[in-house]
Amino acid sequence: MKDTREAEIVREVLLGDTQAFGILVREYQGPVYNLMLRMSGDADLAADLAQEAFTRAYEKLETFNLRKRFFPWLYSVSLNLARDWLRKRGRDVHVFVEDASVMVRSEDVVDVQGAIHARLDGAKAFDIVKGLDVKYREALILRYKYDFSIREIAEVLGLSVSGAKMRLSRGLDMVRHQFNEGSND
């Protein structure tokens, strides 16, 4: 959705047109729900958390800077909510992640490029990403799935621009490392 259109929608909502908020909900419910799934590991909890995230965004809508993109701001609100929830839960939530060390066995293949891609079964790679600490995981997803700019990632995660870049490169390193480990047999 175009940024200007979104700003208009937000203005309408602030002026009293509640239904207009539904447009934003339907646009971003997928990513927010999936974020909550990653954070909680449970579908029902994720739905509750996602609903709360949108509710909170609606309540705080006055604080949204109309000149910026809506999705990064919404993501910030959602991520903070999820973090608060985790903190209250005492961090004893075990997020279920498929065993990322179950790798496609490395084989003697002449086509190295193909081999790398074959080894790097997309689903397995993403499992490793999902298994990373939230700091790295969300940075990678924001960058490569949702095409956030570095600056936007920095804002959402509360980092400086250079901090965000480091987060990304370390995140990639970690995924790569886990692959190399997994496939050394």
């Binding site: 002026l15 006055e62 604080t63 949204f64 800077n65 109309l66 000149r67």
Partner: protein
């Protein structure tokens, strides 16, 4: 200027905004205009420059810049203190608060100062900036208008420094929700005995410590009233309540 006529016009505009009808003219002031008027009136340039720079850098739109500067300009043109609003604006900018929130906070302060000024002028011929500041800040932080009104109505003839001390106590104690009846009682004792000196404004510190130790507001109030009627000091109140001022500040962390 015909006051009635202009107020009618102004109320008409107010109604337009309240009922959501868009006035059919464009915004007349640009940020540059606002800044010029503000400087002419006497608003210091620092906050104006900061807002202007942020608009130029694209962090705020021109409209947001105008909205941020407006309350300062209004305060200045109405002879109200501008410094508290400038401070709030600087705080909001430094904390990177959303402009709407800053505007709202500024307008809350502006309204509070306006009410403070009306309140004080109802009872007093001349209003010092200090007292206006104390009452304005107190109102903006939620102290009840009645508490101030009752105080000002009764004690406005007192010497200005003592009057100011009393106002500060109403403000600070009001902000922490201390029983206003108790505040009134102790102030009365202080005025009658002549024992209310400027250092009493910080009785609030003793109240905070006492509350931490489970002492009730009424016990604190009684102790304070008793000490005031004997023309004692704030330290005497701590002593009466069973702790020394040393124990209040005995930690290395003392600020």
């Amino acid at each position: 200027m015909n006051k009635l006529c202009s107020i009618a016009v102004l109320i008409a505009f107010w109604s337009l905004i309240v009922f959501g009808v868009q006035p059919s003219f464009a915004v007349g002031g640009t940020l540059a205009d606002q800044k010029t008027r503000a400087l002419e009136c006497g608003v210091s340039s620092e906050s104006l420059d900061e807002v202007e720079a942020l608009v130029k850098a694209g962090s705020f739109s021109e409209g947001e810049g105008v909205a941020l500067v407006s309350p300062l300009l209004t305060a200045c043109e109405k002879g109200l203190p501008v410094a508290p609003l400038q401070g709030k604006l600087a705080e909001g900018l430094a904390k990177q608060v959303a402009p709407l929130r800053i505007v709202q906070a500024l307008n809350v302060k502006l309204e509070a100062y306006g009410n403070a000024s009306l309140l004080l002028n109802r009872h007093m011929k001349s209003v010092t900036p200090e007292v206006l500041g104390v009452v304005g800040e107190g109102l903006s932080r939620g102290v009840s208008q009645q508490d101030f009104e009752a105080y000002v109505a009764e004690y406005n003839a007192q010497p200005s420094e003592i009057f100011l001390t009393g106002a500060e106590m109403i403000s600070l104690l009001g902000q922490i929700g201390f029983d206003p009846e108790q505040t009134r009682t102790m102030l009365e004792a202080g005025f009658v005995s002549g024992g209310l000196t400027p250092q009493w404004r910080y009785l609030v510190r003793v109240v905070l410590v006492a509350r931490q130790r489970g002492v009730s507001d009424s016990t604190i109030g009684e102790a304070a009233a008793a000490v005031l009627s004997e023309r004692g000091t704030v330290n005497d109140v701590s002593a009466r309540l069973g702790f020394t001022s040393r124990s209040m500040t005995g930690r290395v962390k003392s600020q």
